[in-house]
């Protein structure tokens, strides 16, 4: 399973390194979203600094939808999905591989957006490990749930419109938890406030990763 995971993740990341869709479209979109939030809040620093954690995670969520759609669309042409199904690769490995690839792209995006939040909004990071841990845990959950719903909507003609509607409510606990943890990790926050939200993120990751490992194969067969 782990070998298949690395194989699929390598395949998706190789496609990304050659097409540069995430780099040239998804990440710039995230930065544009940050700028638009700033326009909506006005030029004063106060509201921007206060809203920085939430705005960061909202931008990440929007970009997750794009990354997942891209991850699904690379397999939508030339019978690639059927090819994968017939390849004999472990479905659990395929799920983990695709999740790993989406997560890797999201981590790069989050690094860029975090710099953006610091530079554009004037937020000051106080406890770095809290911020990094929230990003890693949040990204694992986002990628797992995203790939799962991506597979569910893969064969649909209305994929582009149904995926955000299905996915965004599911990942809203990540937004809630991520925002609260960031508030605790930024200047003026209390680290101990983050503990229950870390528990929530871990539970979210465990549930959707386990679910994906078990049901990814049957989903691929049925859609």
């Amino acid at each position: 399973m782990w070998r298949d995971t690395l194989l699929i993740a390598g395949k998706d990341l190789r496609i990304e390194s050659r097409s540069r869709v995430a780099l040239s479209q998804v990440i710039p979109f995230g930065v544009v979203a940050l700028a638009l939030f700033a326009f909506a809040l006005g030029p004063a620093r106060g509201p921007m600094v206060k809203g920085a954690p939430g705005l960061f995670w909202v931008a990440v969520l929007f970009c997750t939808v794009l990354a997942v759609q891209r991850s699904v669309s690379v397999e939508s042409g030339d019978g690639a999905r059927d090819g994968l199904r017939l390849s004999g690769l472990d479905p659990a490995g395929q799920f983990l591989g695709k999740s790993l690839s989406v997560a890797a792209q999201l981590v790069v995006l989050e690094a860029v957006l975090a710099v953006g939040v610091v530079l554009l909004y004037g937020a000051r990071i106080e406890t770095y490990w809290v911020i990094v841990a929230s990003c890693l845990l949040g990204t694992a959950g986002l990628a797992a749930a995203g790939v799962l719903y991506g597979a569910l909507s893969a064969g649909l003609r209305v994929r582009e419109t149904i995926l955000p509607f299905l996915l965004l409510p599911v990942v809203s606990p990540v937004l809630l938890a991520g925002t609260r943890i960031w508030q605790a990790g930024l200047s003026g926050g209390t680290v101990s406030d983050a503990t229950p939200w870390f528990h929530l993120l871990i539970a979210f990751d465990a549930v959707y990763l386990a679910l994906g490992v078990v049901v990814y194969g049957p989903i691929q067969e049925s859609t």
């Binding site: 649909l156 509607f165 299905l166 409510p169 606990p173 539970a203 049925s222």
Partner: protein
């Protein structure tokens, strides 16, 4: 337009009511309709019992029970709100999750479970909206706001959106088997959020009050006639749910039949065109014609 009424012809031998829609085919309608004769009566009896128990709850809640020491008459909303929430968050969505699981399980795969899950989600969404509305009406004078961003409220709203997503997914045209499987997976993923809703009240300890009846010590913090009215409210709303579920299930069966019937008539018309014959006038009521 011709109305479609349940077929009261004798049941096909061997297809008893204990195995509803045993075969996952859409052409099994005559059996389903024959069964629905019994279903009609069950629905009526459940509906009547629900109406009587709701009437009793209203009488007890509005006239017999005293106002609360702190909340005054506002406490009367508590006879409805937890019951509606119980149906929406646990019963309806729990049933949808179990039915979806049973559909996905190869040994129990039957369109009965698919239709039951769809009916449970649809009725559950109605109850979920009622939960949020009744909670808001209670929250405005108690908390001072129509909506508070409390964890439990938020997740209840999230749950509503999740199951609206299920219904949206269901509306996407697909082969019956594909649609049923896809929706069953979606229901299963969404159901995963239900434990989060349940335990969030303990995890976050925010505005929402803790469980009144089913708390950790199993010692209800409500007494006397108020407790009995609350219990009756739970039973009444559960009966209303069952009644709505039965009605929605029957509509689901008829909808499926209508779809199949229309398709069959369209094929017959096309064949008739090919043979040079003129299609019969008024053949739009195809399902009814096929039923005859």
């Amino acid at each position: 337009m011709t109305t479609i009424t349940p077929d009261t012809s004798p049941t096909t031998p061997g297809a008893g009511p204990s195995t509803p829609d045993a075969e996952p085919t859409r052409s099994a309608l005559p059996t389903s309709l024959a069964q629905s004769t019994r279903m009609v009566w069950t629905t009526r009896i459940v509906g009547l019992t629900a109406a009587v128990s709701v009437g009793f709850t209203v009488w007890l809640g509005l006239w017999v029970t005293p106002p609360d020491k702190v909340q005054g008459d506002l406490v009367r909303l508590v006879y409805i709100h937890p019951g509606v929430a119980w149906v929406a968050l646990y019963l309806a969505f729990g049933l949808a999750a179990v039915s979806s699981l049973l559909y996905l399980w190869p040994r129990t795969r039957s369109f009965f479970w698919d239709r039951l899950a769809a009916a449970a989600v649809e009725v559950g969404v109605v109850f979920n909206i009622c939960t949020l509305i009744s909670g808001s009406i209670w929250g405005r004078p108690t908390w001072g706001v129509w909506w508070a961003w409390d964890a439990r409220l938020t997740l209840t709203a999230v749950l509503l959106v999740l199951f609206l997503g299920y219904l949206a997914l269901r509306r996407i045209p697909a082969e019956p088997e594909v649609r049923a499987k896809r929706c069953a997976f979606a229901a299963l993923f969404a159901a995963v959020d239900i434990p989060l809703v349940h335990f969030s009240v303990d995890w976050w300890k925010t505005l929402h009050q803790g469980a009144t009846v089913l708390n950790a010590n199993l010692s209800p913090t409500i007494h006397g006639s108020m407790a009995w009215t609350l219990l009756l409210g739970f039973i009444a709303l559960t009966l209303v749910f069952v009644w709505m579920l039965l009605v929605r299930y029957r509509i689901g069966v008829l909808e499926d039949f209508l779809g199949t019937g229309e398709l069959e008539v369209a094929i017959l018309e096309r064949q008739a065109e090919g043979a040079g014959a003129t299609p019969t006038a008024g053949s739009g009521d195809g399902a009814a014609e096929v039923a005859r």
